[in-house]
Symmetry: C2
Subunit: 275 residues, 2 copies
């Protein structure tokens, strides 16, 4: 999916919401456990209920790998379902991969060809040849970790190297590898002021912003610091939407939470003259 | 598996060889493709042929994920086979994972409980809470990326931050998280002099050293700079062993290559008075 298609979808839905499918069998409604594949049945219900309000889904691979091959089947079925039923939706494999060149080439095939995701999150530590193999696919995206939303982001990402923080080194160095039509960046919602600095450095890129909701990030602040002239943001919420209820009404309640965020996003898009 | 058991096995086999199971269906002997699970059949033959000379196996998850759920089945069967047939062998899931705390907790369960590996490689970029969930399992190990063997290691790992290279910051900071009984480090064979500096910083840790063979690293130099009083090294070779032949003799030829490395390692252990 190219940048224009993503922007078109954002404008059509008046939303830049990404729903994180961090599906944990211990947190989903107990009545689903009698199903052959409860994880997929849950995902399908969440997707059907929220797709009106969301432009992207982001399954996190850890929550599927914990069940081994069975988990990968649930993941594949989830992506297949989105791609068949809602082909305009942007699918992000939140996998945080990265390895030497011939290994990253296999990860790229795993996520872009086998799973058929549109984008994958990639860890930057191993540098150019760990990222480049993901860049050789038409209309597929690398979403590189820059400044993450978690506590541990303080350990290395803020270290000052060559006169600037490590995450800024990642942002600048990776500009040599791909432009805003192939690469996005992860910037946590828990760092709104740094998001402003990053937006000043990279006026044209999309940022994937996790950390709104359960992790404490604030959508208004993210929009204030992060929006650009073509939106430029995908804001993710996982737990706040998918676990809004663990009863029979889980899908309805997820839809309500997604709708609330979509409405806030619509206001933000309007007040910034983006729709 | 604890440190003492690893050292005992090294001394018994006179080897600190790890065989990398980067099994690529395009490179294995064509006669295996008629099997239901060619990847597992290949791995089993390689393991049976080389286990006399090796103390560890290191399947790299990318080479399995590329086949989706089927690949995870091959990976699970491979680890199950090693654990059942050769319980003293150390199994490293070369997965290079790392994510926010609740996600890393799922990766930890995926690799330690579901897959039953003894160790997992972890990427440091996201800091403490991305690593800690892997440390809560008895006799399981984190092998943290420090200085990797690839070209891209130059991009960020050598950046000078707070007066020392980023990889040294990773080494020092992570000392606060776990000691040499729970954590090892990846140090590429392509950086032998830095390996010496790292050994001086961390006299007691084990290092997993990839990059000998196809990537150009030199075993003699690795041993010179990396051995400590209880060996402290696991040296990996993947392609040089498992693809020594793609004919009917692939397992015999793999055994020959593993044997050559084991003999060199035996000499190095003897000349350093370690056996």
């Amino acid at each position: 999916m190219n940048k224009k298609a993503i922007i078109n979808q954002i404008k059509a839905k008046k939303s830049f919401l990404c729903v994180g499918l961090d599906t944990d069998i211990n947190k989903i409604p107990q009545h689903l456990l009698k199903e052959d594949d409860p994880v997929f049945v849950f995902n399908k219900a969440i997707i059907d209920a929220t797709t009106e309000y969301a432009v992207a889904y982001k399954p996190n691979t850890a929550f599927y790998e914990v069940y081994g091959a069975k988990g990968w089947t649930s993941l594949q079925k989830t992506v297949d379902y989105i791609k068949q039923r809602y082909p305009d939706i942007f699918v992000i494999a939140d996998a945080k991969r990265g390895d030497i060149g011939n290994t990253s080439a296999n990860y790229a095939r795993a996520f872009f060809e086998t799973l058929k995701a549109d984008a994958i999150t990639v860890a930057p530590y191993m540098g150019i040849d760990s990222v480049e193999p993901f860049l050789g696919f038409d209309d597929k995206w690398v979403i590189l970790l820059a400044l993450t939303s978690n506590k541990g982001s303080k350990d290395f990402q803020y270290l000052n190297a060559d006169g600037r923080e490590m995450y800024k080194n990642v942002l600048m160095k990776s500009q040599e590898w791909a432009d805003e039509n192939k690469m996005m960046y992860v910037v946590g919602a828990t760092h709104p002021e740094e998001l402003g600095e990053i937006r000043a450095m990279l006026p044209n890129h999309f940022f994937l912003v996790p950390g709104v909701g359960a992790q404490g990030g604030d959508l208004q602040a993210v929009a204030r610091y992060g929006l650009n002239g073509h939106v430029g943001l995908l804001v993710n919420s996982s737990r706040g939407i998918i676990y809004a209820s663990n009863g029979a009404d889980f899908a309805e309640r997820a839809a309500e939470e997604a709708y609330k965020l979509q409405k806030q996003m619509e206001e933000l898009l309007k007040s910034n003259n983006l729709i």
